[in-house]
């Protein structure tokens, strides 16, 4: 079944519920029967409707357990939806996976795939064979991509000898070597150093912009990364899409609100900020090494600032800095989700 639209990826009321795991309770008394407790079903996706256009670099932001990876697994034909439909390249993921699999690839952050005894080059070549890429073409592509990603010196190193960053670069090359139309990147720069992350970001952006018909769905924990790379971003939490727009438009959505960032001595009690009049949302992050807390407040106006400061000083904490800032994607996220990503 084909999607009537020309979206590269489209979902309609997509829902995925995982059956609860059974937790076995051990017998405590001799002779008593053991029993099993169900942890209950988990709704990973709850009626997600999305349309990602061909040629788009689409971002998905959400905290852990928001449903990002589940969505990617469904689109990659690895999971079936419980309800709703998903189309990739116009094909239904549940009914017609073969043409989808020909056109997609996926790279996840922190992947440990491949075989340690093979070299980086051999590993990538092996995966390319599962897509039917002729050996000669595959080897040429691998060599080109290894130069681009700065992995050429390690081409003949066994995979088990590669560092985390080098391994992730190898995974990225594996993703591109099959020349997919649609690439799913699930937190591809997770745990990478600044340079390795930059190389990957730049290549992904160029790949989408310079080659017609290429689409990327990227999930990320890094707001700045999503802001820099994505044409549009969806904010997802608890399996629901809260907003979906360009980064600029998302930021515009909370422009009427005021964002304040404070650096104070470590405070333990943030309950006093909850329900404070005029405080739309706030996030709190501790820097234990410096004994400081970083607070971000999304306020309806500047009215509550005095009350916030008073609440902080009443706990005996010093205010080291107070800054009013332009809304960032993180502010949008906090405003909608009610907490930061960390």
């Amino acid at each position: 079944m084909q999607s009537p639209m020309t979206y590269a990826v489209e979902t309609r009321d997509l829902t995925r519920i995982f059956a609860g795991k059974k937790k076995r309770r051990f017998r405590r008394k001799a002779g008593s029967n053991g029993s099993e407790d169900s942890l209950g079903p988990v709704t990973a996706l709850d009626g997600v409707s999305l349309g990602i256009k061909e040629g788009e670099l689409f971002g998905m932001l959400g905290p852990n357990g928001a449903g990002k990876t589940t969505l990617i697994k469904i689109l990659a034909t690895l999971l079936l939806p419980t309800a709703g439909q998903a189309f990739v390249a116009g094909h239904d993921v549940a009914k017609d996976p073969f043409p989808i699999r020909q056109r997609i690839n996926m790279v996840s952050g922190g992947e440990t795939s491949g075989y340690g005894l093979l070299t980086a080059r051999e590993n990538i070549w092996m995966f390319s064979q599962f897509y039917g890429v002729p050996s000669k073409v595959s080897k040429e592509r691998i060599d080109d991509l290894m130069h681009i990603f700065g992995l050429w010196d390690k081409r003949d190193a066994k995979v088990r000898m590669l560092s985390t960053g080098q391994r992730q670069k190898m995974n990225m090359i594996r993703g591109f070597v099959t020349d997919p139309d649609i690439l799913f990147l699930d937190e591809p720069t997770l745990g990478l150093d600044v340079n390795a992350a930059r190389v990957i970001r730049e290549y992904v952006m160029n790949w989408v912009r310079k080659r017609a018909g290429k689409t990327v769905l990227l999930t990320s924990h890094y707001m700045a990364e999503a802001d820099q790379m994505c044409d549009r971003i969806a904010i997802i939490d608890k399996g629901r899409i809260l907003a979906c727009d360009t980064p600029a438009n998302l930021k515009r959505m909370i422009r009427t609100e005021t964002t304040f960032q404070l650096e104070v001595d470590t405070i333990r009690d943030t309950t006093s900020f909850v329900g404070l009049r005029g405080v739309k949302n706030f996030s709190h992050k501790d820097d234990i090494s410096k004994n400081r807390s970083h607070l971000t407040f999304i306020l309806e106006d500047e009215g509550p600032v005095a009350e916030i400061l008073s609440s902080i000083t009443s706990q005996g904490a010093k205010v080291h800095s107070l800054q009013k800032s332009e809304p960032t994607l993180e502010d949008v996220f906090i405003s909608m989700v009610g907490r930061g990503l960390d």
Partner: protein, 330 residues
């Protein structure tokens, strides 16, 4: 989608895709596994110790039998040996030849069994358990996301396993010939090849079927693999002619019949007949004639491959429904 994304789906493309996939998946086993020279010690030399134990026992018994014959010759070369008539020189020579021949046949049976042990262990630990391993290291979801046929994945694992293990098996065979002085007499090499390949295909077909089931059972599968080592060595007659079990009254035939469901049992029986002659052991320890055994092996190969295909399809659907393909530690 744009014109750039048009992809081939014709039969020729699909055949090419799946052949490439088989080659790709067999590569780590054929090339990667032999990069570590330690395999020579662990997988060729160490197994020889197990074989040597049986060989020395059989050779000891052979030696004892010869001693008895020689003793009879020395003490009573003519006339009566106690209340029995002594064999004449020609008969004694025949007795000696029979002892040599039987000892050689037993030792050869052990060496052949040792080569088949290598394949059986490979099927258990590198075929049956492999998909579970692949899931743990994160490869499985990448395999399942690829457009190749799933049987190409299993086929690649099997071909790689066969080639890799053949190197180990050949080293055992060579050691058997040179270290233990085993003599093989192959009268029908074509039949031998047919039986050997039918055994391997049936054996790896069984492994392909187990691969899906093991993934379904998760960690419990390890116990199953361990359980299927020594008992199968015994019930399949890896170190003795399986027909011997049928001669043990009571439990013997039941164990032998159970063991015969493993293709290696019938395969070994046929290989022993083809390399030692069907008259070895007086022709009394064979299960069936070679042709019947080849037919059984071909039947098993077809059956296991079909079952493997359905088991994998069932597993994939179940895993997609329950999320077991993508989640580790389940």
């Amino acid at each position: 989608m744009s014109a750039a994304s048009v992809r081939r789906t014709d039969l020729r493309y699909r055949v090419g895709l799946n052949l490439r996939a088989v080659v790709g998946r067999s590569y780590p086993r054929i090339v990667g596994a032999n990069r570590e020279p330690s395999w020579i010690f662990f997988e060729a030399l160490l197994p020889l110790l197990g074989i040597a134990a049986y060989v020395f026992i059989y050779q000891f018994f052979g030696g004892q039998a010869l001693a008895v014959i020689n003793q009879a010759t020395l003490t009573a070369p003519f006339g009566m040996c106690g209340s029995n008539p002594c064999a004449d020189a020609a008969q004694q020579a025949l007795y000696r030849a029979a002892v040599y021949s039987n000892t050689n046949a037993l030792v050869a049976s052990v060496v052949l069994g040792g080569t088949m042990v290598a394949f059986w262990l490979n099927v258990l630990w590198s075929m049956a358990s492999q998909l579970y391993w692949e899931k743990e290291i994160g490869n499985l979801q990448l395999y399942m996301m690829a457009p190749m046929n799933r049987m190409a994945l299993l086929g690649g694992m099997a071909v790689g396993g066969m080639v890799m293990t053949s190197m180990r098996a050949v080293s055992t065979l060579i050691a058997g010939v040179f270290v233990f002085g085993v003599v093989f007499q192959v009268a029908n090499p074509l039949m031998l090849l047919a039986v050997f390949f039918a055994t391997l295909i049936a054996l790896y077909g069984l492994g392909m079927m187990f691969a899906s089931l093991y993934l379904l059972w998760g960690r419990e599968a390890w116990n199953l693999s361990a359980l299927m080592e020594e008992p199968i060595f015994f019930s399949s007659g890896f170190y003795f002619p399986l027909g011997g079990l049928f001669r043990i009254p009571g439990w013997g035939p039941a164990v032998a019949i159970a063991g015969s469901f493993i293709p290696a049992s019938i395969g070994l029986d046929a290989l022993r007949q083809l390399t030692l002659g069907s008259t070895a052991f007086g022709g009394t320890l064979w299960i069936f004639d070679v042709t019947t055994e080849l037919e059984i092996l071909v039947g098993m190969a077809v059956l296991f491959l079909i079952l493997a295909r359905y088991a994998l399809a069932y597993l994939e659907t179940l895993a997609k429904r329950e999320g077991k393909l993508t989640s580790r530690h389940q």
